[in-house]
């Protein structure tokens, strides 16, 4: 069991790094080893702080650790989640200021926009597919408030699942329009292919990851509902971003999306 005061101390440490923009020490030393519940408690403290301050509103959720390789790296058998806030969203091709980034890395993902509440004890794949309004390609720019990305599972969960900012593509499709598992993905940085993959790289299918999220959020008291964006997880390896870089992701049968980083 992790001590309550330590949970608050961890939240303060991450908050400090967020406020100053300077990544700090990991927080895992404050929590019992692998105490995922305590790590989510840390995340929830800062979520409440942001929402209480009235300057941020929730826009959705992100799912992390959706690839087998990354799960193995962190020694976990399941994904994690973090909150998305409306101010994290940038438009396709809009210049993203460096001040918003913390050691940024870019991932290509499928984003689901939820159109109906997903509540209750027994959410099924059928419920999920029926509740999805539309699907768009997305680039997630993850970040870490932990210096050098020196993270273990509790560090990343406490740090809002290493969330950063995101960009949605503007070619909405219905969930039945294409094969979520088989769609190919290629991401370029300054026109050079740097990451390739397919839907299956995200827990076998991005819908599998999203169903896990819907169930987990319903239990955690932050159920998915109309208008929520779900960033479902990377379809290929993540790639570090440098000032001036332009990334483009193309997801076959879904469309494309771009993230442009400011030069300075």
């Amino acid at each position: 069991m992790t001590d309550q005061s330590k949970i608050h101390e961890a939240a303060d440490r991450l908050w400090q790094a967020w406020e100053t923009g300077v990544p700090g020490a990991p927080i895992r030393d404050l929590l019992a080893e692998g105490d995922v519940d305590a790590a989510y408690a840390v995340q929830e403290i800062n979520t409440k702080r942001w929402l209480g301050g009235e300057e941020r509103i929730l826009s959705g959720r992100k799912i992390g650790l959706t690839s087998k390789a990354v799960q193995n790296q962190l020694g976990v058998g399941q994904p994690d989640y973090g909150m998305l806030f409306a101010d994290m969203e940038y438009m396709d091709g809009e210049e993203i200021p460096l001040s918003r980034l913390h050691q940024p890395k870019v991932e290509a993902e499928i984003a689901y926009v939820i159109a109906a509440p997903l509540t209750g004890q027994h959410i099924t794949m059928v419920d999920l597919m029926a509740s999805i309004g539309y699907v768009v390609p997305a680039l997630e720019i993850v970040g870490s408030r932990v210096a050098g990305w020196d993270i273990r599972i509790t560090d990343t969960i406490a740090d809002n699942a290493s969330s950063g900012v995101y960009v949605l593509g503007q070619s909405p499709k219905r969930v039945g329009d294409f094969d979520q598992r088989m769609c190919g993905m290629v991401m370029t940085r300054n026109n050079q292919p740097v990451s390739v993959g397919a839907g299956a790289a995200c827990m076998g299918s991005p819908l599998n990851a999203t169903l896990w999220l819907a169930r987990t959020m319903a239990k955690a008291g932050r159920a998915l509902g109309p208008g929520d964006v779900v960033l479902s997880g990377a379809l290929g390896p993540m790639v570090p971003a440098n000032p001036g870089d332009v990334f483009e992701a193309r997801i076959n049968c879904l469309g494309s999306v771009r993230a442009a980083f400011a030069k300075e």
């Binding site: 769609c183 993905m185 290629v186 292919p193 390739v196 397919a198 299956a200």
Partner: protein, 255 residues
């Protein structure tokens, strides 16, 4: 002087008897030209035994693999009818040294193609496209080689399995690929990993056969190159490749 005929005999015997050999580069590295000469002569030995050429394979078609081997061009090898394995059938480990399998796209040539051609000209010569699995099997110890070694060894080409042919009017630039072993996804990728677009591999194929005085002829198969890392084969595996919009290609590995 490098004894091309002698080296051709060594690699051909290694392939024929599924026996591993030491790297030529351990004693004297081959130049790219010498290596292709060894390959051509070793393939002549196969033709003399009654095998016939049915196409070619492209290799090092990803930047990552080129860097690994330390070259900045693709390479190629010949496919013969004896290398064809049956789709849905059994592949015997006994035929190979230490085989690996990788997911590919195959082109079926409908019109002669050779020389410096555009992507448009290359696609105009294609009659059909199919999902394919290539069995690569370096005859060298520990699957290690330099560029001269691998070219001399027919670019590790040793077996191939072709799935259903499709009309070439589908977009093949970014098709999702899942290579599974016993139903579990092992490698996941996209045809975009093949030089950014598999047609670029076909353009290179036309250029490379021309430099050897050959042509891609109607009926020839061109394997475009691996789209993901290769997976080591072992008896008992059920190997399946799913390609977006193209279907599956599969085989079982036996002793």
């Amino acid at each position: 002087m490098t004894d091309i005929a002698k080296l051709a005999e060594i690699v051909d015997e290694a392939a024929r008897t599924a026996t591993e050999i030491p790297q030529f580069s351990d004693t004297k590295p081959l130049s790219v030209d010498e290596a292709y000469a060894v390959q051509a002569q070793s393939i002549q030995r196969r033709y003399a035994r009654g095998e016939r050429r049915v196409g070619i394979k492209m290799g090092l078609t990803s930047r990552a693999k080129q860097l690994q081997v330390g070259v900045d061009d693709v390479l190629w090898g010949r496919l013969t009818d004896a290398m064809r394995e049956e789709e849905g059938g059994e592949v015997s480990m006994a035929k190979y040294v230490h085989p690996r399998v990788e997911p590919e796209i195959a082109f079926l040539i409908g019109k002669p193609l050779s020389g410096n051609v555009s992507a448009l000209e290359a696609m105009a010569a294609v009659q059909a496209v199919a999902p394919a699995l290539e069995i690569i099997d370096s005859r060298y110890k520990a699957f290690k080689f330099d560029v001269g070694d691998v070219i001399a060894d027919n670019s590790s080409s040793s077996g191939f399995i072709i799935g259903n042919w499709h009309a070439p009017d589908i977009d093949i630039s970014n098709l999702g690929m899942i290579l599974s072993i016993n139903g579990v996804a092992g490698e996941i990728g996209s045809t975009a990993a093949i030089l950014g677009h598999p047609v670029r591999s076909l353009v290179s194929a036309a250029r490379m056969v021309a430099s050897a005085g050959e042509t891609l002829n109607p009926g020839d198969i061109v394997l475009a190159g691996g789209a993901t890392a290769a997976i080591p084969m072992a008896a008992g595996q059920a190997v399946t490749l799913d390609v977006q919009n193209m279907g599956t290609v599969a085989f079982n590995v036996v002793e």
